[in-house]
């Protein structure tokens, strides 16, 4: 059974609907890419999962329906969502942002170990611990967001365009760590990306959205190998 399943999900903002019946699934411990042009509904799909928009259809996480659940309760089920714009609390320090990631956990010893790992992945965050998060650069903020999500000890991470606006070198580093977290901790990832090539390299399965519907889906290697799909949907 898949960890996350979306079944005919329709969603929108007020009178305008964005998703017209999206079905997809993320298996336990796998990375799944969600691709598509701007405005195709990728972000709205993620926001539906964590209850940020009103939706119909069904969304199940670990066999349990998320219908009518508030964002904070969905998150407490084990889903970490790094939203568009990263959701950094710029009024707080780096350390406080990290603490907000782990504040619900009661396994003190494991938390301390996870902090050590976070600082091992992102040494810059250890240096900036006491500083206001607003002083971080874009790449550092993305690292902070990812580190904070990791500290939530989720079973599933929803990542909304982690590469947006970052230098290629930093993108490489961040994706490397996403892969490490995925393999070492068996954290499943639903990855929304503009950079399709990069995303398909990472993921096992992929879905391509077009105006609120799944246009193409399959294993990442299938999609990579299909020139027609690549040219018409992925643009490379």
């Amino acid at each position: 059974m898949a960890l996350l399943e979306l079944e005919e999900v329709r969603a929108g903002y007020g009178p305008t609907s964005v998703l017209h019946g999206v079905s997809l699934s993320v298996p336990e411990g796998q990375i799944v890419s969600l691709l598509g042009a701007n405005g195709a509904g990728k972000t709205t799909t993620l926001r539906s999962i964590t209850g940020g928009v009103h939706w119909t259809g069904d969304i199940r996480f670990a066999g349990r329906s998320l219908r009518r659940m508030h964002t904070e309760d969905v998150v407490r089920c084990g889903i970490a969502h790094v939203p568009e714009g990263r959701g950094i609390l710029t009024e707080l320090t780096v350390d406080e942002n990290l603490k907000l990631g782990s504040h619900l956990r009661r396994d003190g010893a494991a938390v301390r170990k996870d902090y050590d790992r976070v600082f091992e992945y992102f040494p810059v965050l250890r240096e900036r611990r006491g500083l206001s998060a607003s002083t971080l650069s874009g790449g550092e903020q993305q690292m902070l967001a990812l580190a904070r999500a990791f500290l939530m000890k989720p079973r599933l991470m929803l990542l909304d365009e982690p590469s947006l606006g970052l230098a290629p070198l930093i993108v490489r580093a961040i994706f490397e760590i996403i892969r490490t977290i995925n393999t070492e901790d068996r954290v499943a990832v639903l990855l929304v990306e503009q950079n399709a090539r990069l995303a398909l390299e990472m993921s096992s399965d992929a879905y391509v959205l077009e105006v609120g519907r799944v246009a193409v889906s399959g294993t990442s290697s299938e999609l990579k190998g299909n020139d027609a799909v690549r040219r018409s949907y992925l643009g490379y």
């Binding site: 904070e72 998150v75 939203p83 959701g87 609390l89 707080l92 907000l100 504040h103």
Partner: protein, 293 residues
């Protein structure tokens, strides 16, 4: 010179009273961008509760924390019942609701306890002690000490506990906080509870001086407005500093400016409010606000 020092000490004591109420205003402002016009009346009601407890034979120093707990619960209850349904309403709606709340609580207190002013006990004697040449009353020093302890406790809670951290997070970025599993709506309620408890300290401290009756806080809330605005309405530290400045200023103006005297001290507070809002709207410690479109 000696008299000036004395006036300053008693101004600081009054300022501590204003600071508690101003801090309560700041807590709710930070939680939801709202000035709670009912803050003073909530404090007044809590003070009546404290008096009832003491009248029933409870020791002052037990009645004090018990009252704070009751005020805390009351603040949460008010938020859940009255504010929750309109959490996302325009600010004008919220302001009018808190004003309605103020009127309602004032009327209820009058209904239950009557309008006859009552003496309220003070644990501190009015005897004076000589500090560096200035005579300060134990009453004033006690008020300063109690206010100081309470303000410090709030600071510790906000800055050094997980609850305080989640409260601050919810206040600044409700959406991002929800994604981190923070129950934002409950944080608002908690903010109201905390504000209610802190505010009631000012009521309990001022009651021995002004005598307790339903309109007791009507002027104190204006001084607290002045303190909060002066400090920068989003800054807890500003509320404290603003409270002390307003307390000292008003006290000195009342004594040394003949045309102000006792009955125009309130006008000094008004002048501070209007002056700060027009000249330096962010106050001493506030951040410049971004105008939303």
């Amino acid at each position: 010179m000696q008299e000036l020092l004395q006036q300053i000490v008693s101004g600081i004591a009054t300022g501590g009273i204003f600071a508690s109420l101003a801090l309560a205003l700041v807590l709710i402002y930070n939680a939801m961008g709202l000035v709670n016009f009912a803050q003073g009346e909530m404090a007044m009601l809590a003070t009546f509760v404290a008096l009832a407890l003491i009248d029933h034979g409870m020791n002052y120093w037990i009645a004090f924390p018990v009252t704070l707990v009751i005020a805390f619960a009351g603040g949460i209850a008010i938020e859940r019942v009255v504010i929750r349904p309109v959490e996302r309403a325009p600010i004008l709606t919220l302001v009018i609701i808190t004003l309605g709340l103020a009127t309602l609580i004032n009327g209820l207190a009058g209904f239950i306890f009557g309008y006859v002013p009552r003496a309220f006990p003070s644990p501190f004697s009015v005897q004076t002690v000589n500090i560096l040449g200035a005579l300060a009353s134990y009453q004033d020093l006690g008020v300063i000490a109690v206010s100081g302890v309470v303000l410090l406790a709030i600071y510790m809670l906000l800055q050094h506990t997980t609850v305080g951290l989640t409260m601050r997070a919810a206040a600044h970025h409700p959406e991002a906080s929800r994604l981190l599993g923070v129950h934002v709506s409950w944080m608002l309620a908690l903010g109201w509870g905390l504000a209610s408890a802190v505010g009631s300290v000012s009521g309990i401290m001022v009651a021995p001086i002004l005598l307790l009756q339903p309109n007791m806080m009507q002027t104190i809330i204006i001084y607290a407005f002045a303190a909060a605005v002066l400090g920068g309405i989003e800054s807890p530290l500003g509320a404290v500093v603003g409270g002390v400045i307003v307390g000292v200023t008003v006290n000195l103006a009342g004594v040394y400016l003949p045309f102000v005297g006792g009955d125009l001290q309130l006008a000094v507070a008004l002048a501070i409010i209007v002056g700060v809002l027009v000249l330096k709207p962010n106050g001493l410690f506030g951040r410049p606000s971004v105008r939303r479109v």
